[in-house]
Amino acid sequence: MSDRDDILQRLRAAPRGKAPLLPDVSAFHAALAAGMPASTPAARRTLFCEKMAFWHGEVVRVTHDSWPEKLRELCLAKGVRSLLCGERHAVALRGAGIEGLKTYDRPLEEWKAELFQNIEAGLTSTRGGIAETGTLIIWPDASEPRLLSLVPPIHFALLDARQIYDNLFTAMSEQGWSAGMPTNALLVSGPSKTADIQVTLAYGAHGPKELIVLLLVDEEELA
């Protein structure tokens, strides 16, 4: 008998006992929400920013029109000489005149060493944010590959302030994740870190040392 059949047979031979009903996660969250003040976009944004700051993530407010320019300023201020982006934002960023702009337009194998050694920052889009935990939702794809948010020491992430959800459960249900997941989906809460040496926190363990969220807000909110 194969190991597979053997394992399944042993499991099926076990006493069944009482079968629990399907857990109602939705009702649990509804009950939680009922006991809290109504969720508003402003409250979610405030909470998101507070939690992201707790994770050592920086939040910079930008507008839909001005963010490439702001990113240019940030790169200058941080001394970033090479910024990696996906094809999605390449045109806008080129328009802003960012120096050392590179597009992730080749398979990894063709430029692995360069990616690891010569790229100082990466920019990704996000699918939204999570207020409760200060978390970015990132779904890498053909335009913005997986390593764009991991290998460069600085990670810039563009987040639409209107797409901040209360918690992970509401984010995944409202965005319908269970209907189909991408090959890789990520939640990112701050820069990479470790406390493995004497429970002392250190940032930049293997991934980015800095995470800067470009929070897209309306013109009037910026003022």
């Binding site: 031979a13 857990p23 390593l147």
Partner: protein, 479 residues
């Protein structure tokens, strides 16, 4: 670089190692400090005990529900993963799991495998098997990297190098990492590890990872981490092999958030980890990175034995947060290495007997005062003290009718101990005899032996009172 892999030491020598550990002031001090830190961090995450109980109830429900449907969910998971392009393998025991992984590694002419944190890979002693097969398996989680560099095993499932001070790590790096100078700066030490391991991520042929949750409905493998090494291992090399115990499957994606939320809060007192990595397939055409080939190895290694008993099945509810060890007064005093098993502390005491058999592990379930701290903090409400008692029983008796025998059933059976308990029960079920015993013990209290086994190691001998409560109460009736 020390990549030699170690085999686990026998659990049967637990008592000797525990005695050595409690005598080690430095070890005691560092574990106490670290555990206090983690206990405080966890407590801060759960300010409202009522809300915590509701979350624990939901998490327990999800785990029980998933386990009740385990064979169906495993088949559903296999189907979805296969559809997603992930190859699924099943391994009944460590040998088979290692064989599967080594076969894949050989097919890709592997020289170097980089590993994200995986306790199941420790359980099957994969590093050792890889070394035997002439291939290098390198740990990339900072804590795991440190203990591997020093030729050790993890002493905690979440914080593998928690037994080491930064000075020890500074010396270790200066000695073993080419080009590294001596520094006690934690940032600089992490920087050294980062530089070494980034080179390895680039050159590795295979990345190996564990799995925190496997979602059957979408065919998704979820990984929880702070460092980013897990993402490196599952993204940079051409081949990704994930390995997990068969119990880690849940039915729906929506079952993940309640478990994930309790896992990180219980483990390190974090509301969330830096990364939550959900992988549902290898690189698709057009995508520019990610592994081209993906495998999942589902490991039994004694889990079906725990599953085959309704009470012991709750062992498999575990989501490996480590809170039980952080709160365990025994673990705090002896550290993880004394147990000699992959999983130390209370969870190790209840799961190791299924993996290694009671013959090798029967002492472990006795290494608890049954204080109940573990069960109190367990986020999925595993009744750990009840399971410890059950395993003590199984180790000392033949299997009961209607129950499957455990591996090593009755291994701790002893005629002497049986006789003691038979005598005890005879005494305590015969009130007149019991009262006579009390009378004698109090009248002849001067004859109480001065050496009382383990008791008098650090205590003065017990001595009965002058008169029993029975006598005094009886005397009151006849004024």
């Amino acid at each position: 670089m020390n990549t030699q892999a170690l085999r686990f030491v026998p659990a049967s020598e637990f008592k000797e190692r525990a005695a050595a550990a409690v005598a080690d002031e430095h070890l005691r001090h560092s574990f106490r400090g670290a555990m206090d830190f983690l206990i405080g961090k966890r407590a801060a995450q759960f300010p409202d005990p009522v809300a915590l109980e509701q979350q624990r109830a939901l998490a327990e429900h999800i785990r029980k529900y998933s386990l009740a449907r385990l064979p169906d969910l495993l088949e559903q998971l296999e189907r979805k993963l296969t559809e997603n392009g992930i190859q699924v393998h099943w391994a009944a025991d460590p040998e088979q799991a290692n064989r599967i992984i080594i076969d894949i590694a050989r097919r890709h002419s592997t020289r170097l495998m980089v590993k994200g944190k995986s306790m199941v890979s420790e359980e099957i002693e994969l590093n050792h098997a890889m070394a035997d097969a002439g291939m290098e398996a390198l740990e990339s989680d900072m804590g795991e990297y440190i203990v591997q560099l020093d030729g050790e095993k993890p002493s905690h499932i979440i914080m593998p190098a928690i037994h080491k001070t930064k000075q020890e790590i500074a010396r270790l790096f200066a000695e073993r990492v080419p080009g590294a100078g001596y520094t006690e700066s934690v940032d600089e030490l992490i920087g050294i590890g980062r530089a070494v391991l980034r080179e390895k991520f680039m050159s590795a042929d295979i990345g190996l990872s564990g799995v925190n949750f496997a979602v059957a409905e979408t065919g998704t493998l979820c990984l929880v981490e702070n460092e980013g090494n897990g993402r490196m291992c599952t993204t940079v090399p051409d081949v990704h092999i994930a390995i997990t115990g068969i119990e880690k499957v849940v039915e729906k994606l929506e079952h993940v958030p309640p478990l994930f939320g309790l896992l990180t809060r219980s483990a390190t007192g974090q509301a969330i980890t830096t990364y939550f990595n959900m992988i549902s397939g290898p690189r698709r055409p057009g995508e520019k990175d990610g592994p081209r080939e993906m495998h999942l190895v589902l490991v039994d290694n004694g889990r079906t034995q725990a599953y085959s008993d309704e009470q012991l099945r709750s062992t498999l509810q575990c989501i490996r947060c480590g809170a039980c060890m952080n709160h365990c007064p025994v673990y705090t005093r002896i550290g993880g290495h004394a147990y000699g098993t992959t999983y130390p502390g209370p969870i190790g005491e209840i799961i190791s007997p299924h993996m290694l058999g009671l013959a090798a592990t029967h002492v472990l379930p006795t290494a608890s005062s049954l204080c109940g701290a573990c069960g109190e903090v367990c986020p999925v409400r595993i009744p750990i003290p009840d399971l410890l008692i059950r395993l003590r029983g199984e180790a000392q008796h033949d299997e009961r009718p209607g129950h499957f025998p455990m591996l090593g059933q009755g291994a701790a059976k002893s005629r002497v101990i049986d006789a003691i308990w038979a005598g005890w029960a005879a005494l305590y079920t015969r009130p007149a005899l019991y009262r006579a015993f009390g009378w004698l013990a109090t009248r002849f209290r001067a004859l109480t032996p001065p050496m009382q086994s383990g008791w008098t190691v650090s205590r003065t001998p017990l001595k009965p009172a002058g008169q029993t409560l029975h006598e005094r109460m009886a005397a009151r009736k006849r004024p």
